[in-house]
């Protein structure tokens, strides 16, 4: 990239302001990230794992079970349902409140508080391009250099 071009890109960056939809998308993604169990891939994903379930010593001295125990895989297939399916099902099982959905608490009556996206201390200022909060010039500089518009969400 020539210096003239990169200069133009920089100017464009300066003028860019995230619209409301993009800000909402970012906020939603941040909340979704708080729900995740892992942020990396299965470290054994490249291994050819044997399908066999780990065998644990039987609970009884001599096996009293007449029938053969079913595998974990069997129950995975037998009861397979996603969270979304289960919520949908619940709407017909418990159609009227009180139910799972109605139990969620409403928003707080207290006003939202704002914290600096960089250092976590209370903040009084809002970044114009992206709407993030900051507390001082130094934190604003860090924010512009690291996140601000550099994230695509």
């Amino acid at each position: 990239m020539t210096s003239r071009e990169s200069g133009r890109v920089k100017d464009a960056e300066k003028r860019r302001v995230l619209d409301d939809a993009a800000r909402k998308r970012r906020a939603r993604k941040a909340i979704e990230a708080l729900e995740q169990d892992n942020f990396h891939e299965d470290p054994h994903a490249d291994l050819v794992m044997s399908k066999k379930v780990p065998k644990f010593a039987d609970s009884n001295e001599k096996p009293t079970r007449k029938k053969k125990a079913k595998s974990a895989e069997y129950y995975k297939m037998r009861f397979r349902k996603t969270f979304a399916q289960l919520v949908e099902e619940d709407a017909s099982f418990r159609p009227d409140p009180p139910n799972y959905l109605s139990a969620q608490v409403p928003p707080s009556k207290f006003p939202d508080r704002h914290f600096c996206a960089v250092c976590g201390f209370p903040s009084n200022y809002t970044c114009i391009p992206c709407g993030a909060r900051y507390c001082c010039v130094r934190c604003l500089g860090t924010h512009l250099d690291t996140r601000c518009l550099k994230w695509t969400a």
Partner: protein, 394 residues
């Protein structure tokens, strides 16, 4: 047909508490973990104690958003829990109490009924909410009329009012903040501010447990955390485990640069109290919901007028998050401030908050009517799963 003991499985989304009513419960991670350092095998439940290097652990959890959805994972962990390696049991001889989340979905309820009667050949089964066991525990030790049970766990915080031992469903409230949100938020801010720990849920969860506290005056603590030098009594370093000499991290005072001990540390300052603060102000991370004390009041507001007094007098807290220092006091102070002056307010931290519900199961087994709460294998065979929906109020 009464046995001398029963088996209690408080099947939480992060830890399962399991054991016979005559013994102490075992707290078992309800997950399968894979380690980068050990490629030979996954670690099931408490096998993780055998893992030499717990950095970069990968979690496989049976629960998603607080509900049991990954059955192969759960079956593998249950097989481990019921085996000699953990806490062996023969359900054809021993009644089972198993806990389920509030408003557990109907097909998950059916699946649990099926798996315990058919796979584990259970003779007597009692499926129940963990909060029911906690309420029973509290009521048997306080002889009170009404109780507000606050269960602050891994996926959610639930507030469940009970009137004369019965759940009052109109008053049930759920906050979508639990231990997982706190650990993930701590990981996120530390990774941005200091060191990439996004893959270290296990270690950062321990750092959270070892370092965080609930502030009694949030803005005042923010001011203390701003101070430089020894007047900042909040700032500490968390020494990270290296799995050679340090197996679990720990909190220590900050040292001057010249006495650097060559350990890898994370500097924790306002993080120490702004993380548990999310339980009190979910909106701090953009979750548009009430915090715990406000939700307790909202729950009680949804209950009959004549029970409000007794409810405010009997608020009991349990679950992993209630272990943060200052948790009870903060709940008490805020509820006290919200409630009308002429009402008395009592907030109790359940003794051993992690196993408080499990211990309730132990007391419930001694209830003279215990067997009438259960469903037997014969009943299951004759009347099927429909009877379970009638008998168990989940």
């Amino acid at each position: 047909m009464s046995e001398s003991s029963c088996y209690i499985l408080d099947n939480g989304a992060y830890t399962a508490k399991a054991g016979f009513s005559t013994m102490e419960p075992k707290v078992v991670p309800n997950c399968i973990m894979k380690a980068k350092s050990e490629r030979r095998r996954p670690f099931v439940g408490s096998q993780i104690e055998e893992c030499r290097d717990a950095s970069g652990l990968f979690y496989i959890l049976p629960f998603q958003k607080g509900f049991l959805v990954n059955w192969d994972t759960q079956k593998t962990i249950w097989d481990f829990i019921f085996s000699k390696e953990c806490c062996p049991v023969n359900f054809s001889e021993t009644p089972l109490i198993i806990t389920e989340p509030i408003y557990n979905f109907s097909s998950i309820q059916e699946a649990i009924t099926e798996i315990f009667f058919e796979e584990y050949e259970c003779q007597s089964l009692l499926r129940i909410n963990a909060t029911d066991l906690a309420e029973y525990h509290y009521r048997k030790t306080h002889n009170n009329e009404c109780t507000v049970v606050v269960d602050s766990g891994y996926s959610y915080t639930y507030i469940v009012p009970y009137i004369k031992g019965k759940k009052y469903k109109e008053g049930i409230r759920r906050i979508d903040v639990g231990g997982k949100v706190l650990t993930n938020h701590l990981k996120e801010i530390l990774s941005y501010r200091q060191l990439n720990v996004m893959e270290e849920s296990y270690v950062i969860n321990q750092a959270k447990e070892d370092s965080c506290f609930v502030s009694q005056d949030f803005m005042a603590d923010m001011e203390i955390a701003r101070r430089k030098g020894s007047s900042n009594t909040i700032v500490k370093d968390y020494v990270l485990p290296d799995y050679t000499t340090i197996r679990r991290g720990y909190l220590r005072d900050i040292v001057k640069p010249d006495e650097d001990l060559e350990q890898q540390t994370l500097r924790l300052n306002n993080e120490r109290f702004s993380i548990p603060e999310l339980l009190f102000r979910p909106s701090d991370v953009g979750i548009p919901q009430m915090g715990i004390p406000e939700a307790i009041m909202h729950s009680i507001e949804g209950c009959p007028e004549e029970n409000k007094e007794s409810l405010l007098e009997n608020i009991v807290l349990y679950g992993g998050n209630t272990l943060f220092p200052g948790f009870r006091d903060r709940v008490f102070n805020e509820v006290r401030a919200f409630a009308l002056d002429h009402f008395e307010v009592n907030v109790t931290l359940g003794e051993n908050p992690v196993t408080y519900a499990w211990e309730g199961g132990k007391l419930m087994f001694r209830d003279p009517d215990f067997y009438s709460f259960c469903m037997t294998r014969e009943e299951y065979e004759e009347e099927g799963k429909a009877l379970a929906f009638e008998r168990f109020d989940i």
